[in-house]
Each structure stands twice: as structure tokens, then as C-alpha cells.
């Protein structure tokens, strides 16, 4: 016997057939890392605030996150070249990014610049996973083919398993935030766990990948189709769906050439998206520093930051549960009505939140309502796809759709910074302005949709 006998045993398929313990463990860590990174990013603004940073820095942070989410996937060719070692490399980057965030408080409020630089460096590293990760998980070889075959839905981040994973993971985060005080320490513990999970995932992917046969890696670029709703996060936009290397300017030019009836709903859609972008990084600090809601649940007092976790759970639950009914509703009363409704809710959410009484039930209900916006995303995507493909010559269709998404993602980049500047003046101003922008967007959409169809179009297909 000349080599690793355990590997030989493994190659002899009959011997180890059916053993998937390693694959299952890898899938679980990938999902767990995504959940902790999601939580880390949602809480990052609060972390920045606790480190004595103002709204402008937080806004800039949000804009940078969006920018990276748009830009990083353009490095897809790098990931391609890395091939199957992309997984450990990107995983290690992201874990180191989380470690950067973890160590920030030592650099302290006395030296604001260094800590902010470290936060942004960490963000860039984390985004390499956040943006490249889910994409390549589905398309390139971040997750070994064998594992993807085993648990494809979870790895590809289709909506339902993704929300289920988040709903399973968030209570743990809430628990930590409740048990541990002060808040900054609690967030550090979450970050510490996230980094360790990330490194665990990195090692698992690196080691398990050794077993993979070359042929299995080779066909890993098959599933290039974007999964609907995969990019519906605040920071993980669906910019990656766009054609990778087209300059934004030419994208805008080609969009200008679309007929007005098509352009108007797109403008409306983008405006609402911009409005949501203005407020989304500030949601957590609104709950913790403006509303300051704390609540006692099951005999445990939840600090405002832990309560924000409860709000996220409310939002996710609705997003998870309402998707199906909303799609059915769209079939009954027409897509544009459902889309307009969900966008209207999104537009009204900021002003409602900032002016809400500090009552936990009210605030959680508002987040739950905002969940309807997320639940409406598949319908919205279908609607956008339908109008970008209608009334245009067939060859240009996928391009128009892709270009629009790129443009919308690009438009969204400055939104958080704009929100931050306004928030620095007054939170009410920022959130109120967001509602105004969103309302204008809804109006544009409704006008355009009316001009498009006159009558509501009852869709025959759901996709």
C-alpha cells in the first residue's frame, strides 16, 4: 500500500458508499456561515454606532457594501481561474474579514480613523463571500459538486431554505444578545463565532474537496441560471445577474431607448429600491437609539438590539409565509397590483417606523409588514421581466433585463450615503424623505403600468 489508505477506501466506491457525513457537515457549515454573516452585516451599523461613528460613516458603510456587492461579482473570472480552490480562498477571506470586525474595538474610539478603516477592510473581505459566495456556490466551484448535489437547494440559496435557515439561526443570535451585555460585547461574541464557523467551513471545503474527482469539478459551471430572489438582500443585490463587463454608461443609454411605458414602471421600481436603500442600514440604529424599544419575553429582558433580532424574525417569517399567497394573489388580481401594493408598503414603512410609538408590538408588526415587501419580490421580478420583454424585439430581451438590473443596482449604491447625510440632520427627515421618494416611485409605477396595459394583466404563468 503506497498512499493514504483511507483515501483508497474512499475511491473504492463500494466501501464508502452512502457515507455523506462529511458532505452534510460541509453544507451545514456553509449555511451557518451565511446566517452569521447575514446577522453580522445587519448588526454592523449598530456596531459602528457603538464605536462612536456618526450616520454619515454608517451611510458610507452601507453604500460601500452595495458597491462591493455590485462590483465583486465582476471578479468572477478570478474565481473561475481559482477553480475548486476558490472555496477555501474566499472562505478564508471572509473569515479574516469577520476577524477584522472583531478586533476593531481595541483600536478604540480614541483613534476613529484606524477603526473605521479596519471596518471597511473587513467589509471588503466579507463581501467577497457575500457576493461571490452565493453566486459561485451555484455556478462556480465554491462548494464541491458532490455537496451541491446532495443539498442543492440550501446551497443555492433558493428563497425558502434560505429564510428557514435564517429563522433557525436568528434566535441563537437573539439569545446571545440577550444573555450578554453590554451590546458591543454581545456583538463581538457573535462575530467571534461567525469567524470560527467561517474558518471551520474553509477547512472543511478545502479538505473535502481533495476527495473530489476532476470530472466532478469540471461540470460545476452548469447551473448558470440565477435563482429567482437570490439577491434580495439589502447588501446582496442582484447586480451579479447583469452582463459582467458592460460599462454602466452604455447600460443607461440602452435603457433610455426603451419605450416610455416600459421605462416609467422601471423608474418607479428603482425609486422604491432607492428609498429602501436609504433606510435599510439605519433600521437597526433606529430601533436601538431612536425608538429604544426593549421588551420582556419569556421572563428575559431583551435589550433594543436583541429586540431588533425579533423584528428580523418577524420580517423573515412574513417573507417566508406570504410568498406563496402573494403569488397566487397576483394570479387572481394581476401582477402590477400586487407589485404596487408591496412597493407601497415598502415606501410607507420608513415614515411609519420612525414615527411609531416605542411599543414592541407595533414595531415588530411594522417589520412584519415590511416582510411583505420581501414576499412580493418573486412577483416583482416576474413583473419586471414581463415588461422588459414586452414590446421589444426578441433579441434584445435578456439584455434589457440584465441592463436594467445593473442600472438599478448602481443607482442603489449612493442611497445609503444619501440616507446617512439626511439621518445626520434628523432621522425623521431621512426616513420621511425615503417615504417621499418611495411614494413617487409607486406613482410612476402605477402610471406606467396603467399606460402599459390599461387593464390589469392576469398572468397565466407564475414565473
Amino acid at each position: 500500500m503506497t498512499s493514504d489508505s483511507t483515501t483508497e477506501l474512499r475511491d473504492d466506491a463500494s466501501v464508502f458508499e452512502g457515507i455523506v457525513a462529511g458532505d452534510a457537515a460541509a453544507s451545514v457549515t456553509v449555511v451557518a456561515f451565511n446566517v452569521t454573516v447575514y446577522a453580522a452585516i445587519r448588526y454592523a451599523p449598530e456596531y459602528l454606532r457603538l464605536l462612536d461613528n456618526g450616520p454619515i460613516v454608517i451611510g458610507l458603510f452601507g453604500s460601500t457594501a452595495t458597491l462591493l456587492a455590485v462590483a465583486v461579482p465582476r471578479l468572477g473570472s478570478v474565481a473561475d481561474r481559482l477553480g475548486s480552490s476558490a472555496a477555501p480562498v474566499v472562505g478564508a477571506f471572509a473569515s479574516i474579514g469577520v476577524v477584522c470586525w472583531l478586533v476593531v474595538p481595541q483600536f478604540g474610539p480614541t483613534d476613529g480613523v484606524r477603526s473605521v478603516v479596519l471596518m471597511f477592510a473587513g467589509l471588503a473581505l466579507i463581501e467577497s463571500w457575500q457576493a461571490v459566495g452565493p453566486k459561485t456556490a451555484a455556478t462556480i466551484c465554491v462548494v464541491p459538486q458532490r455537496i451541491r448535489d446532495r443539498v442543492p437547494q440550501v446551497i443555492r440559496h433558493a428563497r425558502t431554505p434560505r429564510y428557514v435557515a435564517l429563522l433557525a439561526g436568528l434566535p441563537v443570535v437573539i439569545g446571545l444578545l440577550t444573555l450578554i451585555s453590554p451590546a458591543i460585547t454581545a456583538i463581538q461574541v457573535v462575530l467571534g463565532l461567525a469567524a470560527a464557523i467561517g474558518l471551520t467551513m474553509t477547512v472543511l471545503l478545502a479538505v473535502l474537496d481533495e476527495d473530489e474527482t476532476p470530472t466532478a469539478s469540471a461540470d460545476s459551471t452548469t447551473a448558470h441560471e440565477p435563482v429567482d430572489g437570490a439577491g434580495d438582500d439589502d447588501t446582496m443585490e442582484d447586480g451579479w445577474i447583469a452582463t459582467p463587463n458592460e460599462p454602466i454608461r452604455s447600460v443607461l443609454d440602452s435603457l433610455r431607448s426603451l419605450p416610455r411605458s416600459v421605462r416609467q414602471p422601471l423608474v418607479g421600481d428603482s425609486l422604491v429600491e432607492f428609498a429602501v436603500g436609504m433606510v435599510s442600514v439605519f433600521l437597526v440604529i433606529t430601533v436601538t437609539s431612536v425608538l429604544r424599544v426593549d421588551v420582556t419575553l419569556f421572563g428575559q429582558r431583551l435589550r433594543p438590539d436583541a429586540f431588533f433580532g425579533v423584528c428580523l424574525v418577524a420580517e423573515m417569517s412574513v417573507a417566508l409565509l406570504a410568498t406563496g399567497p402573494l403569488t397566487r394573489l397576483a394570479n387572481r388580481i394581476g401582477r402590477e397590483r400586487v407589485v404596487a401594493g408591496s412597493l407601497l408598503l415598502a415606501a410607507l414603512f420608513p415614515i411609519a417606523l420612525v414615527s411609531a410609538p416605542a411599543n414592541p408590538t407595533v414595531v415588530a408588526s411594522l417589520f412584519a409588514t415590511f416582510g411583505l415587501y420581501r414576499a412580493g419580490l418573486p412577483t416583482r421580478h416576474a413583473f419586471i421581466d414581463a415588461i422588459t420583454s414586452a414590446g421589444d424585439d426578441a433579441s434584445d430581451i435578456p439584455d434589457a433585463r440584465g441592463r436594467y438590473r445593473t442600472a438599478r443596482a448602481a443607482l442603489r449604491v449612493p442611497s445609503a450615503l444619501v440616507g446617512g447625510v439626511l439621518y445626520a440632520v434628523s432621522p425623521t427627515l431621512a426616513f420621511g424623505f425615503a417615504t417621499v421618494v418611495g411614494a413617487v416611485g409607486v406613482r410612476e409605477l402605477l402610471v406606467g403600468a396603467t399606460r402599459l396595459g390599461g387593464e390589469p394583466t392576469i398572468s397565466t404563468d407564475t414565473e
Binding site: 489508505s5 457515507i19 457525513a21 470560527a196
Partner: protein
């Protein structure tokens, strides 16, 4: 001397069914498994303590759990890992394989064996009573916060009733260990098969024998010291008051036990390394005799080094010097082992299977842990590093880096033997790499923190140590997650792993290293009809 090996299934003693079988068993393999399961559960709880206390150290201020909880955590972590995890797991493995290795069909005293095991759950409950009481809401019994060394005057004066329970638990676990050790000595001396003369005794059995000798001399001292402390606490005796023996008396008694205890923990794993490394190097153990002699030398020298734990107490410098000399000397037999392991692999046909990876990792970690120990043995260095994280890093490199690694090597090596199934090798490799990285990150960070002068056992620390402490915590988390993977692998593979059909899962026959425990396994797999032939097969030299 015992007769030929018998098939366990056709043993004269009939086993009961279900749970009763496990409660009433006197079979050495069953008891070995019980020890292993018990030790694993204790180890996971002790590991959980470690995760929690490392979480406390994630931030410079004592704000995650608070200082009292932190003190309780490091105390129960130490007690659990040393008394309820490491020794039981080593004894469990020894119980399972030593009788097969020496050609005996059973331990010398099966009922004593069972008694020794069943004392351990009682010790477990007593030693972790504070946490259990917290869980079920009994007031007044708090986890101990003295550190595992239980130094008076704190341990003498602390009003916490739980300390008495811990002392009783230590006593019970000591009795258990003594019973087991006596059993091993008699078994190895008197129950060997005719073919197994002293010159043919395998290296693992040698270390178990030496360890048992150490136990027989060290644990009675612990037992006595513990009773003295109990009397001091409850009946007003004055063993450890300043006017009598003083706290220094406790330290002498405790470390007269405590340092041999280190070798009690380390020798069986060293034996495992010596046993497993040749199997995956395609060679015999290099310098077999010298490895055995070094084991015996450690066994003797172990009793002459205890005061190096007390260099900073102000004892007579001449006494200190002599203990320094012996402490430095004990590095020699340890180095003999290390060099022999390396020489065994040198030029060999090395197969990096999961057990071998852990063996190689163990050697690497033992070198770091051992060399830092040599520095600590030197009085001037020790005076600087005493009570710092340097010490913590040093002994964790040995205890986790070498001892636990060797136990994992044995776990993977004998997993097919114990369960009749195969484990997932990919997951095992991931477990190895994660644990190896975690150990390096966590314990190197501790060495660095210690060199910076950071005292151990403090819930809060100056902010300039925050980054290094966070690194240590990250490393600890990695070790923790790795063990989750290990547990998952073990559970899934035990339940649904591929069933072993031929006993030579590691291809040992090729290099003539198919030792007795596997031969007995083969007989069991092949069934009773082939037993007579197999029993008549001459046994290979155990040194292979």
C-alpha cells in the same frame, strides 16, 4: 498464564439484554466502551466549559459572564478534563485492547474493573455538583472557584459547600483510578499468554503498566491530602493553617500527586503513538527497547520533579536547584521517545491516514509543548513565567496537542475494531486540520500572551492583550467546532458506517504489523469455525 483467546460471543458468562447488560457487565471490552463513552461525555462538557471561559476572554473587561462564573468555569474545566476525561479515556482504551494485546481473555479482576468504572459516575456527579445544582435550582451549592489545584487558604476557608463535594468526588475518582491501576498491573504481570514474555510485551502495555505504577504511588497521596483538607474544612483540624503545615504543605502533597498525574495522563498516549506510528510507516518501532526504558525512566523521574510547580513560593534555593536538575533531566526520556518516533517514520512508507495525521500532529505539538516545558523547568525563567499564560500554553500543547491528539489517533485507528464499521475519512481529515490549526492558534497565542506577562486565571485583562486573547478564543472555537465534526462523524459512522468485512482495514498484514487485537477481531469476524486455526497461528512479534 491464560489460555488461547476466545470468541467473546461464546464467553461462559451470559450477558443480559438491553440496558441491564451495560449496568451489570464485567466484560473488559464492554467496560472499555463504557469508559470511552463516559470520558467522551465528560470531555465534551469540559470542552463546553472551555468554550464558555474563552468567550469571557473575548473582551478585556469581565462582562460576558462575570468574574465569579469565569473562576468556576476554569476550575471545573481543569477538574473535568484531568480526572473525568483524560484518565478514563486512556483507561477505556487500555481496558479494551490490553487484554487482547497480551493474549489474556479478560482482565485479572473483572468485578474490580466494573467497580472502578461505576465509581466514576458518582465522582462525576460530586465534582460537577455545583453546575448540576445550578441547573436544577438548588441554592447554596455553587461551582467551585478555586482552580483545580485547590490551594489553601482559599480552599480551606471558602464557605461554598460544593468544595466539600468536589473533594469527595476527587477522592472517589482516586479510588476508582487506584482499583483500575491495580487491576492493570496484575493483568499485565500475571495474565500474559505464554507466548508473550516480558521481551515481547508491546509498547502500549508497557506504558499502561508504568502508568498504573505511577497511579499506585501518587493517588494515595492525593487521597490523603484531600481527606486532610476535608477535615480542615469541616472538623477544625489544622493541617493547612499557617501555624501547622501551612499552605505549602498542601502544595507539596498536591504536587507530589500532581506531577506524576501529568505523566499518568501522558504515558498511555505516548504508548499509543509508539504503537500506531509504526503501523503507518511500514516499519518496526525504531529503538523499541529505548522507548520502553524511557517510559520506565519517566515513571521514576516523575516523582522527583514536583517542586518545580513551587519555584515561586520561596522554598529553599538548594531544594529548588535539585528539582530543576531533575526537571531538566526528565526532558531526556521524553526526547528519546520523540526522536524514536521521528526515526521510525524516517525513510518509512508513511501513509497519512487519519490516525497517522493525528500521530504526526501529536509529535509536532509535543515538541512545542516539551521545549516550552524545558524553559519552565529553569528556575530563573520560571520565576518570570510562573502564573502566566505561558504555563497555560505549555501544558495545553502537551495535554491537548499531544495527549488528546494521540487519543484521537487511537480512536480512529481502533474505530473499526470497536464498532465493526468504518468512519468517514474526509470528515476525519477535516477534524484533524481544524483541531491542528485551532491548537496552534489558541495555544501559541497563550504563549505569546504569557511572554507579555499576562497572568492566567483573570476574567479581565489589559486592553493591549485583547487581540492575542481573541486569537486564542478563535483557536478554541475552532477546536470546539472540530470536535462537533468528530462527534458527528462518530455518531453517523457508528450507526450507519460501512460494515467492516475483512479485519485488515489498515493493510497491516502487508508489513507484518497485524497485531493481536486485530487478530482477535479477525477471529470474531470469521466466526467460530475458524477459531481453532486462528488460535493456533503463531503471533507476530508485538514490536512491529
Amino acid at each position: 498464564m491464560a489460555g488461547p483467546p476466545t470468541d467473546r460471543a461464546t464467553d461462559d458468562r451470559e450477558k443480559l439484554r438491553g440496558a441491564l447488560r451495560w449496568v451489570t457487565t464485567v466484560d473488559h471490552e464492554d467496560i472499555g466502551l463504557l469508559y470511552l463513552v463516559f470520558g467522551t461525555v465528560a470531555g465534551l462538557l469540559g470542552g463546553l466549559d472551555a468554550m464558555l471561559l474563552r468567550t469571557e476572554l473575548l473582551t478585556p473587561s469581565a462582562d460576558v459572564w462575570g468574574p465569579e462564573t469565569y473562576n468556576a468555569l476554569f476550575t471545573t474545566h481543569g477538574l473535568t478534563m484531568l480526572f473525568l476525561f483524560a484518565t478514563p479515556v486512556a483507561f477505556g482504551l487500555a481496558n479494551y485492547v490490553v487484554p487482547s494485546l497480551i493474549g489474556a481473555d479478560e482482565m485479572a479482576f473483572p468485578r474490580v474493573n466494573a467497580t472502578a468504572f461505576w465509581l466514576l459516575p458518582a465522582a462525576f456527579v460530586l465534582m460537577r455538583a455545583g453546575i448540576l445544582a445550578d441547573l436544577v435550582g438548588v441554592a447554596g451549592i455553587d461551582p467551585p472557584a478555586t482552580g483545580w489545584t485547590l490551594y489553601p487558604p482559599l480552599s480551606r476557608r471558602a464557605p461554598n459547600v460544593d468544595l466539600d463535594l468536589v473533594l469527595l468526588g476527587l477522592h472517589v475518582s482516586g479510588v476508582s483510578t487506584l482499583l483500575s491501576a491495580g487491576n492493570f498491573v496484575v493483568t499485565i504481570v500475571a495474565e500474559r499468554a505464554d507466548a508473550v514474555g516480558w521481551h515481547r510485551l508491546d509498547v502500549f502495555s508497557w506504558t499502561v503498566l508504568t502508568t498504573s505504577g505511577l497511579v499506585l504511588f501518587a493517588f494515595p497521596v492525593l487521597g490523603s491530602a484531600v481527606v486532610m483538607l476535608l477535615l480542615d474544612r469541616n472538623l477544625g483540624t489544622t493541617f493547612f493553617v499557617v501555624e501547622a503545615g501551612g499552605p505549602i504543605l498542601w502544595q507539596h502533597l498536591f504536587w507530589f500527586f500532581g506531577h506524576p498525574e501529568v505523566y499518568i495522563l501522558a504515558l498511555p498516549p505516548m504508548g499509543l503513538l509508539s504503537h500506531i506510528i509504526p503501523k503507518f510507516s511500514g516499519r518496526e518501532l525504531f529503538g523499541f527497547q529505548f522507548v520502553v526504558y524511557s517510559t520506565l525512566a519517566i515513571g521514576v523521574l516523575a516523582f522527583g520533579v514536583w517542586a518545580h510547580h513551587m519555584f515561586a513560593t520561596g522554598i529553599d534555593p538548594r531544594i529548588r536547584a535539585s528539582f530543576m536538575a531533575v526537571s531538566l533531566a526528565i526532558a531526556l526520556p521524553s526526547a528519546v521517545k520523540t526522536f524514536n518516533w521521528i526515526a521510525t517514520m524516517w525513510g518509512g512508507n508513511v501513509r497519512l491516514t487519519a490516525p497517522m495525521l493525528f500521530c504526526v500532529g501529536a509529535i509536532a505539538n509535543f515538541i512545542v509543548g516539551g521545549v516550552t516545558g524545558v524553559f519552565l523547568a529553569s528556575i530563573p525563567v520560571d520565576l518570570l513565567y510562573h502564573g502566566t499564560y505561558y504555563v497555560v500554553g505549555h501544558f495545553h500543547f502537551v495535554l491537548v496537542g499531544m495527549v488528546v491528539f494521540a487519543l484521537f489517533a487511537a480512536c480512529y485507528y481502533w474505530f473499526p475494531l470497536l464498532t465493526g464499521r468504518l468512519f468517514d475519512p474526509g470528515l476525519a481529515r477535516a477534524h484533524f486540520w481544524l483541531t491542528a490549526i485551532g491548537v496552534l492558534v489558541a495555544f501559541l497565542a497563550m504563549l505569546v500572551a504569557g511572554m507579555g506577562g499576562l497572568p492566567r486565571r483573570m476574567a479581565s485583562y489589559p486592553v493591549q492583550f485583547a487581540t492575542v486573547q481573541q486569537l486564542a478564543t478563535l483557536g478554541a472555537y475552532l477546536i470546539g467546532f472540530a470536535q462537533v465534526l468528530w462527534g458527528w462523524n462518530m455518531l453517523v459512522s457508528w450507526r450507519s458506517g460501512q460494515i467492516v468485512e475483512t479485519a485488515d482495514v489498515w493493510n497491516l498484514k502487508e508489513s507484518g504489523a497485524f497485531t493481536r487485537e486485530w487478530q482477535r477481531f479477525e477471529q470474531r469476524l470469521e466466526g467460530p469455525e475458524s477459531r481453532d486455526d486462528a488460535a493456533a497461528t503463531p503471533v507476530d512479534d508485538e514490536r512491529a
